[in-house]
């Protein structure tokens, strides 16, 4: 199925859960903020969170800024 990750198309296995996806991408959920269809997903709910076709995921974090 197709999802949008940080504004870019990605094709992934249907029904994948967010925890598996984040792990596949090599990120530690402790260090990033996961925004799924404009809502923040808590770390605790990642495991049971099934992704759907055409969903949008933004992985963001706080960086230095003035």
């Amino acid at each position: 199925m197709k999802i949008m990750l940080n504004g870019k198309e990605e094709f992934i296995e249907a029904g994948m859960t967010l925890d598996v996806f984040i792990n596949l991408k090599g990120y530690n959920p402790e260090h990033i903020i996961i925004v799924y269809n404009s809502e923040i997903v808590s770390r605790e709910s990642l495991a049971g969170f099934k992704m759907k076709d055409n969903d949008k995921i933004d992985l963001v974090k706080f960086v230095g800024g003035g």
Binding site: N6, G7, K25, G26, Y27, H31, I32, I33, V35, S38, I40, D58, L59, V60, K61, F62, V63, G64, G65, G66
Partner: protein, 256 residues
Amino acid sequence: MKDVFKIGGREINSRLLLGTGKFSSNKLIPEVVETAGSQVVTIALRRVDPAYEEENIAAYVPGNCILMPNTSGARNAGEAVRIARLARAAGCGDWVKIEVITDNRYLLPDNYETVKATEILASEGFVVLPYMSPDLMVAKKLVEAGAAAVMPLGSPIGSNRGLRTKELIRILIDEIPLPIIVDAGLGRPSEAAEAMEMGAAAVLVNTAIATASDPVAMARAFRLAVEAGRLAYLAGPGETQEFARASSPLTGFLRD
């Protein structure tokens, strides 16, 4: 009398607000914040870059500070509002610096979109500090929109060119009933002192400290300059004169 500085009803113990961008190492940040004495510290929100693993900047800011996310990267009010909401949902608190920019050469803010974003976020309970090009009418609209302070630029972001907009900022200080915080462009402690002497409530400094050869020492220099400038403002500087005025009596000279 105690010199109290308040933003959004909260007493703030330092008139030097600090940005966290451009430091050669994030490890410098805790000592810089402590040396600067800053209580309000800005950070930004970005998508992660798969090419390199950047640390979470918030972990380097001492826990007693107010983390103020900026909305940098926003090109309009809608994007600024989204970033602010995300930052708050991610645990950043209610403070936000509005920054809406489409001009990539001078990074000058879009005042119109900034007013719109301020209105929306203030109505949602944010403590909104909008970064703006100094303009009296826009500043008045920001007051009406519910801003907690107004942050005019001294010169373009990161330029270290100082207080080039001085006369326009002076008008804001005279006319606007909110704290005026000079944000962007201050490159030397003397420029921060100048802003404070003329009555700015505070300054926000990032590049000048982060890109100094010794950021910790520069943080101390800015802290002292901000304190000196504030003291001078409260002390009420004497009037300037076009011609010399002798400091000693013009009588009783020892001459024939």
